[in-house]
């Protein structure tokens, strides 16, 4: 399958116009010793029908929602994506444009992004939000770089409760010349504030603290901000946008920079990408902002119009002195998020946060009542929490998997001593019946009675639920 409008005839005409006899004459700038002599060794090209079948078969080999009941979270959440988000964002006008270098013919992207910035600002309670970064990992790294540049210091104090995946990206970006110090995890699954205070000093560029943290626990951002500011350091928070429908936002807790993963705002998990890095900041640091920023202005007729602004921070103008190297970002996901946030609105986001939280608390309290299971951390949480099983988490997860359930993330590999612990997350996609189902399966997994081989149970999956159970 090729996507060309040319025919041999049109090619000949064009070659004649150029004044060459063959295509090969056009390639003469490529020295003979690097010209490829043999065809690439790739599978033969396929018709569209065959390509569809191939991709359907690959996609079919994955256990994806809704065919499996999954309690996986850990930074990516399976929230419902309203139909209108797909319908509008799939419009070619949004989908097949590029960075709005010519604002006169890019007002759609520009205004949608401006509205996105505005809604993220309102969500986070910060003063300025930019247009998008790659993902939360790189957004966090960019935030740390802002703090380092702003303070002229190189030490970062990082809550040990930060998602280890976010942490790895931060480490890679900062491997050049900075020190990062982890603060130990307290017994309640939160940052140990005594240790945090002891470690933060006048060399500290920033204190970094997520909430909810990797274990789902809510951290005391306001106290974190106090510690950071006492030493002239910046306070960087990592947030989960849906939680802010309920939880006090970074801007109300003294954050200087707030970063988050915006996937949950109208974008599917998609095996972890594309994602949406959210970045909001206090206005006083705006000259250090990484990436695109859309501003409002007027056109020659006096009409309101939008345009990329403060571009002298950016790589295409500032080159090696730019605040970041980012060029192509995640604009389409920001547009989708704008549509999503508009659809949910003030009341929808509050309801969503409430539902995720209430269902998670319901599940946790039921699991806590199961013989042999416990919720080891006493701290408050939003929609995600750690479960301690009576046996190795791996054994429980395998058992659940045989019953059509992916029960959560195994914590043992990443956190020593956590072999019996798993991380369970709940969204509005988990109908109450699914929660009850998980509780029952956990009970059997512990008592070793899950050897029931009736076909119904063995093949149990999301697909088998009745419509009313799924609601």
């Amino acid at each position: 399958m090729e996507y060309t409008s040319h025919t041999d005839q049109s090619r000949r005409e064009m070659l004649a116009a150029i004044g060459v006899r063959s295509l090969d004459e056009l390639f003469k700038a490529i020295p003979a010793d690097v010209r490829q002599k043999t065809p690439l060794r790739l599978p033969d090209g396929l018709s569209q029908s065959e390509v569809d079948s191939l991709l359907e078969s690959l996609a079919g080999q994955n256990a994806a929602a809704p065919d499996v009941i999954s309690f996986l979270g850990g930074g990516i959440y399976n929230h419902h994506v309203p139909a209108a988000v797909d319908a509008v964002s799939f419009r070619s006008e949004f989908y097949t444009a590029y960075t709005p270098y010519q604002p006169e013919v890019a007002q759609g992207t520009l205004q949608a992004t401006y509205e996105f910035q505005s809604m993220i600002r309102r969500l986070t309670g910060m003063e300025v939000a930019q247009a998008s970064l790659y993902d939360v990992g790189s957004a966090l790294a960019e935030a740390a770089l802002v703090a380092i540049a702003q303070t002229g210091r190189r030490k970062l104090i990082i809550a040990g409760t930060l998602n280890p995946r976010f942490r790895s990206v931060l480490d890679t970006y900062l491997s050049a010349q900075n020190t990062a110090i982890d603060v130990a995890i307290g017994s309640d699954g939160r940052t140990d504030f005594a240790k945090l205070s002891a470690l933060t000093d006048d060399q500290t560029a920033a204190v970094i603290m997520p909430s909810p943290n990797y274990f789902g626990s809510l951290e005391r951002w306001d106290e974190g901000a106090n510690v950071a500011h006492r030493h002239g350091a910046l306070f960087i928070t990592v947030f989960y946008p849906i939680s802010l429908g309920l939880i006090k936002p970074p801007g109300d807790c003294g954050a200087d920079i707030a970063v988050g993963e915006g996937q949950s705002l109208g974008n599917p998990p998609s095996f972890g990408g594309p994602l949406l890095g959210l970045f909001a900041i206090k206005k006083e640091f705006i000259r250090r902002l990484p990436g695109r920023l859309i501003g409002r202005s007027v056109d020659a007729l006096g009409q309101t119009a939008y345009v990329m602004t403060l571009q002298t921070r950016e790589q295409h103008i500032r080159r090696e002195k730019a605040t970041s190297n980012i060029c192509t970002a995640q604009a389409l996901l920001a547009t989708r998020a704008a549509i999503y946030m508009s659809l949910l609105g003030k009341q929808g986001i509050a309801q969503l946060a409430r539902t995720c939280s209430d269902r998670a608390h319901y599940l946790a309290s039921r699991i806590a009542g199961l013989k042999g299971y416990s919720i080891p951390f006493g701290a408050s949480f939003f929609n995600e929490f750690v479960v301690e099983a009576p046996v190795a988490a791996r054994v429980v997860l395998d058992q659940l998997r045989r019953r059509g359930i992916i029960g959560g993330i195994e914590l043992g590999g990443r956190f020593p001593g956590f072999d019996r612990r798993l991380l369970v997350s709940v969204t509005e996609r988990h109908a109450p019946a699914m929660l009850d189902r998980l509780v029952e399966e956990l009970r059997s997994a512990a008592s070793g009675t899950a050897t029931d081989t009736s076909t119904k149970s063995a093949s149990y999956s999301g697909r088998d639920m009745t419509a009313s159970e799924r609601r």
Binding site: S5, A59, Q107, P274, V298, G345, T355, Y362
Partner: protein, 485 residues
């Protein structure tokens, strides 16, 4: 009713209007000990707009009509490879088995996704002539950072602390920005009169502090670096690595491979060459390819394939201890990888070669059609793009940027302007292979008409655009009276 410009989603908000309402909790409230204490709760509701679904849809659909896009007409933005992207790519990336897949899913439950990534990496290694490829970076610029961090790790491992990276003055802005971000100092070198790297100039700055030479081949002028082998040998003789910014690989598919030219490391802009719609500025994705000596430094994770008793399995493997680490929270922009894979499987080797050939043909054809009206500082033939200059027009008081604005009146998108920096009044034009002869003829006709207007009525050109819904925008005011939402 016509769209009222500037009316935001907030302006059409009415209290208590419901858009999409999520389900109610539907569970018994848990007792007090489980509830979130008040100190954690937000004090007031988020002031998001309150708009019904029909009005949200209309608002954004009306906004969308203000965009130019590749599905509508020509978009020859140089260096950006704005080609038509096959719709089947998007359908593939939207399959429930991909979009619904959680990245923490255990290997056994995501074999299809892992197989796709494994095959894609293999294919890209074959296409570029590199020994191994990883798919983690989210876009070209992040791929550059990865390549440079690999160079740093490589030299450190050998006990050398090389601090500088040589980049031609024609390079893309992300190149020097990535150099600084990766902890190096950029050393710019001047291109010669042919628009290429001059080996003698290179020799004068190449030394034991050079970690890497960062080239773009074909370069941003659309020219193939003819002396590439010599340049590579010079670098290697001094112990430096050679990096290829492979953003322009569209021109090379099946014709030449960076690996065969001697490059040690490269990145590919998958969203360009391997066809993902650009989404208004992303998502993109980059692949990073390296030769054998750099494999241990690649970012994680690697996808490995194993076969036991005829059963094939794929798994994610933690990166080598020498790895530079992770640059993405998970495994990269998977949705873009699906599109790249779909594209390669659709076209096969002959189809990919045809992409390169037609992209070069189209660029040379357009170049020929306009070369009498505009200065074209570098000799042809060009590769997939060329850079013209509006210097002649500037003498009549019309700058390159204004020619771009006037093109908007013809319903097409202008070229990239004022880049690369080494060509005054640059108009960087990349038609791409998917433009038909008729479209290119029409584009050339517009450019020729504008060149005439510049002679007869420069003020008219300088006042453009005349027909777009939104006219020239006051950028200075946007920065001065900052309103960013």
């Amino acid at each position: 009713m016509d769209l009222k410009l500037g009316k935001t989603i907030f302006d059409i908000s009415h209290e208590n209007t419901i858009g999409v309402m999520p389900p109610a909790p539907g569970v018994a409230a848990s007792d007090k000990s489980w509830q979130i204490p008040a100190e954690f709760l937000r004090e007031s509701a988020i002031d998001w707009p309150e708009v019904s679904e029909p009005e949200v849809v209309r608002h954004y659909i009306q906004l969308s009509t203000l965009n130019h896009h590749i599905d509508k007409d020509t978009y020859p933005l140089g260096s950006c490879t704005m080609k038509y992207n096959p719709k089947i790519n998007d359908r593939a990336a939207s399959l429930p088995g991909f979009v619904g897949l959680h990245p923490e899913t255990p290997d056994a439950d995501c074999q299809g996704a892992l197989q796709l990534m494994w095959e894609l990496a293999q294919d890209l290694a074959e296409i570029t002539g590199m020994d191994d490829v990883r798919l983690q970076p989210s876009a070209g610029a992040q791929g550059e950072m990865v390549g440079l961090l690999i160079a740093r790790a490589y030299h450190r491992q050998r006990g050398e602390n090389r601090r500088t990276v040589i980049i031609p003055d024609s390079s893309h802005g992300t190149n020097p920005a990535s150099v600084t971000l990766s902890g190096f100092e950029p050393v710019p070198i001047k291109s010669n009169a042919d628009g290429l790297v001059d080996p003698d100039v290179l020799a004068s700055v190449l030394n034991e502090t050079t970690a890497c030479i960062m080239l773009t081949n074909p370069n941003t002028l659309g020219l193939f670096e003819r002396e590439i082998k010599r340049i590579v040998d010079m670098a290697h003789a001094k112990g430096a690595l050679v990096y290829n910014d492979g953003a322009n690989t569209n021109a090379l598919l099946g014709l030449a491979r960076a690996g065969d030219m001697g490059f040690d490391v490269l990145h590919l802009n998958l969203h360009k060459t391997f066809s993902t719609p650009h989404g208004g500025g992303g998502p993109g994705a980059a692949a990073v390819g390296v030769k054998k000596h750099l494999i241990p430094f690649l970012p994680g994770p690697a996808i490995v394939r194993s076969e036991t008793n005829g059963i094939v399995q794929f798994k994610r493997q933690s990166p080598d201890p020498l790895s530079i680490g992770s640059v993405h929270t998970f495994f990269g922009n998977f949705g873009v990888l699906v599109r790249a894979y779909t594209y390669i499987r659709s076209l096969g080797a002959p189809g990919l070669k045809r992409v390169a050939e037609d992209s070069i043909l189209n660029a040379n054809y357009l170049r020929t059609l306009i070369k009498d009206a505009y200065d074209i500082p570098h000799a042809g033939p060009c590769m997939h793009e060329f850079v013209a200059s509006a210097s002649r027009q500037k003498k009549n008081g019309v700058r390159g940027g204004q020619i771009a604005k006037r093109l908007l009146d013809f319903g097409v998108h202008p070229p990239t302007v004022y880049f690369p920096l080494i060509v005054p009044e640059a108009l960087m034009i990349e038609p791409t292979e998917t433009e038909s002869k008729e479209r290119i003829d029409a584009y050339a006709a517009a450019l020729l008409a504008i060149a005439k207007e510049v002679e007869t009525n420069p003020d008219f050109v300088n006042a453009a655009p005349h027909t777009t819904r939104v006219r020239k925008i006051d950028e200075a005011r946007a920065a001065r009276d900052l309103d960013v939402g």
